[in-house]
């Protein structure tokens, strides 16, 4: 076990700024997450949640401030971060004309996996798609695609996993399945950040709730230390 992980935060953001032209989306945002934490970031639409996640995912560059993921500074060490990062967004990011297995094989080679087949077998069982391994992804329901997307995200055993509005477009049953898989994914060495604007689902899994509004984190509370309901906390944070 790398002792570096125990001491430094998995995610360390200080005074993060992001502008698109003249439009400021993130304004001096501070955020830290330690290994093993499951942080849910709530916030209204347009608050900057997706922008924040895209920067953490190395898909977007910060225009100000400092960002470190898994100890590596962004954007300079983006490649090192990518090897340790798994991302699930509301788009499946899967190839429809490949089978589930082939998708995982492809991404396995992108992440330079060795012993891929055994790993893929394990992943398919974890996400409950082992029986559909030879089916084309374009025949999958949205829920199944989302599950496979999670499989892709954890394929290379990342230290940090990001979920951007993962419940979008899922029916109740699919959401339940997603929750069950999330439980399996949580680990004391892994850090999970999940954004959502839907409060109802995220209650049970998180260790911490942050609220992002107008480009900064306006409130943060540990699950155990939350005074009332999540809804009350959220409403108060936005006021």
């Amino acid at each position: 076990m790398d002792t570096r992980e125990k001491q430094t935060p998995a995610i360390d953001i200080r005074k993060l700024g992001k502008v698109f032209g003249a439009k400021k989306v993130l304004r001096g945002l501070d955020f830290q997450a330690k290994p093993g934490e499951f942080v849910v970031i709530l916030g209204p639409n347009g608050a900057g949640k997706s922008t924040l996640l895209r920067i953490l995912a190395t898909l977007s560059r910060p225009t100000g401030g400092e960002v470190r993921v898994a100890g590596y500074k962004l954007p300079e060490m983006a490649s090192a971060v990518r090897a340790r990062l798994g991302v699930v967004t509301h788009q499946p990011m899967l190839y429809g004309n490949l089978t589930a297995e082939e998708n995982l094989l492809f991404f396995g080679s992108m992440y330079n996996l060795t012993g891929a087949r055994a790993r893929i077998q394990l992943i398919l069982e974890t996400i409950g798609l082992a029986s559909c391994r030879r089916d084309l992804v374009r025949t999958f329901s949205r829920g199944m695609q989302q599950r496979l997307a999670i499989g892709r995200a954890i394929l290379h055993d990342p230290e940090v996993i990001l979920f951007d509005e993962p419940y979008t477009g899922l029916d109740l049953e699919a959401c339940d399945v997603l929750d069950r898989i999330l439980l399996k994914v949580i680990d004391i060495n892994r850090t999970v950040v999940l954004t959502s604007h839907d409060l109802s689902r995220v209650d049970s899994l998180a260790t911490r709730f942050d609220v992002l509004n107008r480009g900064v984190i306006v409130a943060s509370v540990l699950r155990n230390a939350m005074p009332g309901t999540l809804l009350d906390f959220y409403r108060e944070a936005l006021a």
């Binding site: 190395t58 898909l59 990518r82 990062l85 190839y95 492809f106 992440y111 330079n112």
Partner: protein, 230 residues
């Protein structure tokens, strides 16, 4: 088994992307047949639009073929990049710890493969339809060289075009003015071969083709990161 501490080897990335594109296309069987039919139809359109005696036909054949492939290739490029963008797959490639120029070469090879497929099928059909002998190996070489340059510039510009509001409409507007040297060189070289003048006569045109290919493969390699980053 642990993830590599460094970026994945570029050659592995290139070959994986190529494999992925080939398997996807062979499974769906959508793009290639459509492009083949389109190419054939364009050739037939030319037949009705430009009425020619047999001896003149040999002179105009390289031009017709290359214009046809340019249009068909344009459709193919658009489709190829749209497929990546649709389900957010391009993002998944960008999330991987790989050298992004490897994505460029992987896509170029994939697009090159589709182009060559079309050319290899259309050339014999054209030969049959017009009773011409197009079975020169040097002709195939010219088509290969031309297709490489076409794929290089086309891949780079299609990635840009798909991220604008006009999307696939913008590709030919960006692409065609820039592809002219390649068109000229390819047509002239084919001309020399078909007129029986031998490849040596076409050497300056071949040099131009190779130079064009090298220049734009290099440009694509250097700037691809800029067109996929945010």
């Amino acid at each position: 088994m642990t993830p590599s501490q460094r970026t994945t080897k570029p050659i592995r990335v290139v070959l994986s992307i190529l494999w992925k594109d080939l398997v996807s296309e062979l499974r769906s069987r959508e793009l290639l047949p459509a492009l083949l039919v389109f190419s054939l139809l364009v050739v037939i359109l030319f037949n009705f639009a430009i009425e020619l005696s047999p001896d003149l036909r040999l002179v105009i054949t390289p031009g017709i073929l290359w214009v046809t492939f340019i249009f068909a290739g344009n459709l193919g490029l658009n489709r190829s990049i749209a497929a990546e963008k649709e389900l957010g797959c391009m993002d998944s490639l960008l999330l991987s710890p790989i050298d992004r120029s490897a994505i460029f070469f992987g896509k170029v090879l994939g697009n090159l493969f589709f182009l060559m497929c079309i050319e290899i099928i259309i050339l014999p059909i054209y030969s049959l339809l017009y009773n011409l002998n197009l079975f020169h190996p040097s002709l195939l070489l010219i088509f290969l060289l031309g297709s490489i340059g076409y794929a290089a510039v086309g891949t780079l510009l299609s990635v840009m075009a798909v991220q604008t509001r006009l999307r696939d409409l913008l590709l030919p507007i960006l692409f065609f003015p820039v592809i002219l040297p390649l068109l000229m060189a390819a047509v002239k070289a084919c001309d020399a071969v078909l007129q029986g003048q031998g490849v040596s006569n076409a050497s300056s045109w071949l040099n131009l083709l190779v130079a064009y290919d090298l220049i734009f493969l290099a440009v694509g390699y250097m700037v691809f990161d800029f067109v996929v980053a945010e």
